[in-house]
């Protein structure tokens, strides 16, 4: 702005909170020079629901429904993170069948979440059809969830001590059928997008996230793996029973939007693989261990993290021996991932900014909680 030679006035624009590509209620104040974005300042908190405050006033089992709402695209994983942390806090052993069911659900939800991401990402790039295809598959997964726990989005499925419901008997055939057709659906997406020159041009080399920046900003999940870091908590710090399954961690090379896309698409296949293994190896037996409403974990604190679809999700629970947590801090992936946007988004066109935002897979309730 100050250099006379370059005097093209910069335009200060509010992008959001109601903007089609901010995926909810995020506001980006951007400074643009023509089409180029020179400065980004994210404003969040439009969805700050004070869940951490609420947690201090809920019994441990009562808090599970709230975890659904922290990451509504991947509620199962959010449930999982919480119950794993709570069980660790109270040293609760859970039946093996429950572990398997949890893994099946978590991985299915990972698929669903990645599908939502794919949908919104492609619609950010202007392609509407993949959006609807992805949602079509997501519906199939939601059917599975619905028949298991009765809800389509806020499952409240995992409980401290196991899972809330056993799977019904029509679950398995439907799941197997889904697993059978799903790879061909992924092929459809790939045909539509992966090598489409327009798509390539829109994503290759766009929003490159170097490893170092990713480290500094604690980026996690597929966005981190897109930058070529082989880091997945399912492998690095296996929780639940992930060490029993055989799956790969896809990683990218450049760290651009295309890599992040590719990583997620491969994770779809990997997750399907895990689900298949889990359903094959599903043991019988009990599926939950009753934990009373006024469950009192011993005094102490626990920090436990899991790999949610968007990255590292962790619960830091401090218990003072009462049925209610003393303090609960929820660490979410989007909170950290969004912070790199101002770094990797500048000096791109506004269209790229949209693509980058989409490729990072930010979900606002996770940021705001």
């Amino acid at each position: 702005m100050s250099v006379k030679q370059l005097r093209t006035e910069e335009m200060l624009i509010n992008m959001g909170p109601q903007h089609p590509s901010t995926h909810g209620v995020c506001k980006l104040v951007i400074k643009m020079d023509g089409e180029e974005v020179k400065y980004i300042q994210p404003h969040v908190g439009f969805l700050h629901r004070s869940i951490e405050k609420i947690a201090e006033n809920r019994n441990y089992p009562q808090f599970v429904p709230y975890t659904d709402r922290i990451d509504y695209c991947a509620s199962m994983n959010a449930n999982h993170a919480y119950v794993v942390a709570a069980e660790k806090l109270g040293d609760v052993e859970i039946p093996e069948r429950a572990e398997y069911l949890r893994v099946i659900m978590a991985e299915l939800n990972r698929i669903a979440s990645h599908l939502v991401w794919l949908a919104t990402f492609t619609i950010d790039l202007g392609a509407v059809t993949p959006f609807l295809y992805a949602f079509r598959e997501r519906e199939d997964i939601l059917d599975l969830f619905e028949m298991t726990c009765g809800q389509r989005l806020t499952y409240n499925y995992m409980t401290i001590g196991g899972v809330g419901w056993d799977i019904p008997k029509e679950f398995e055939p439907k799941l197997r059928q889904f697993l059978k057709i799903f790879p061909s659906r992924i092929d459809d997406y790939e045909d539509l997008l992966t090598n489409n020159p327009i798509f390539l041009h829109r994503t290759k080399g766009v929003g490159v996230l170097p490893k170092e920046t990713a480290y500094e900003y604690s980026v996690s999940g597929p966005s981190l793996r897109g930058s070529g870091v082989k880091w997945d908590i399912r492998k690095a710090e296996p929780y639940s029973i992930y060490d029993k399954f055989d799956f790969d961690i896809p990683i990218g090379t450049e760290g651009d939007a295309w890599d992040r896309y590719k990583v997620r698409l491969q994770e779809l296949r990997e997750s399907a693989k895990i689900v298949e293994q889990a359903i094959d190896g599903l043991p019988g037996g009990d599926f939950k261990k009753k934990v009373p409403l006024t469950w009192k974990p011993p005094e102490g604190e626990v920090f436990c993290r899991i790999e949610a679809p968007r990255g590292e999700m962790a619960y830091h629970i401090i218990s003072d021996g009462t049925p209610k947590p003393y303090r609960m801090k929820i660490r979410t992936a989007s909170f950290c991932n969004l912070q790199v946007l101002p770094i990797i988004g500048v000096n791109h066109m506004i269209a790229d900014l949209v693509a980058i935002f989409g490729s990072l897979d930010i979900i606002l309730p996770e940021v705001d909680r």
């Binding site: 006035e9 509010n14 959001g16 023509g34 089409e35 180029e36």
Partner: protein, 131 residues
């Protein structure tokens, strides 16, 4: 000149040809304005200060909208004008090309090449580069 052009126009026809354009212009403008007028009869009109404010994603506008734009748009317009002129010259040439033959081709090649050189220059200079 091929036969089909001969004597196709009379004075009135020439005028009449474009009289249509003129009258259609009136029809078009009339149609739109009448629609607007008609809509104004049946639509509500309830302005309020916020409604009349510019939309900016649910926030109040941050700064004035009329501001200086990036020069890149301008450079494209500039190249466009030059090439538009060229197109204008190409049209009459194309019509008579077949009857004039090689000579016309060479002339036009020279013309084109000079401009293609211009394009190449612009390319090289990075004028076609947005960023």
């Amino acid at each position: 000149m091929p036969d089909r052009f001969a004597g196709r126009l009379t004075a009135l026809e020439m005028f009449g040809n474009y009289a249509y354009t003129g009258i259609w212009l009136l029809i078009g403008v009339g149609f739109v304005l009448v629609t607007f007028w008609f809509a104004s009869l049946i639509r509500p009109q309830r302005p309020n200060p916020t409604k009349l404010e510019n939309y900016e994603c649910g926030e109040m506008p941050l700064s004035a909208s009329y501001l200086q734009f990036n020069v890149k748009y301008y450079i494209f317009a500039l190249i466009f004008v030059i090439f538009d002129v060229e197109v204008v010259f190409l049209f009459p040439w194309a019509v008579v090309y077949n009857s004039l033959g090689l000579f016309a081709l060479i002339e036009m090649l020279v013309f084109l090449l000079i401009l293609i050189f211009g394009l190449a220059y612009a390319w090289k200079k990075g004028a076609l580069q947005w960023v």
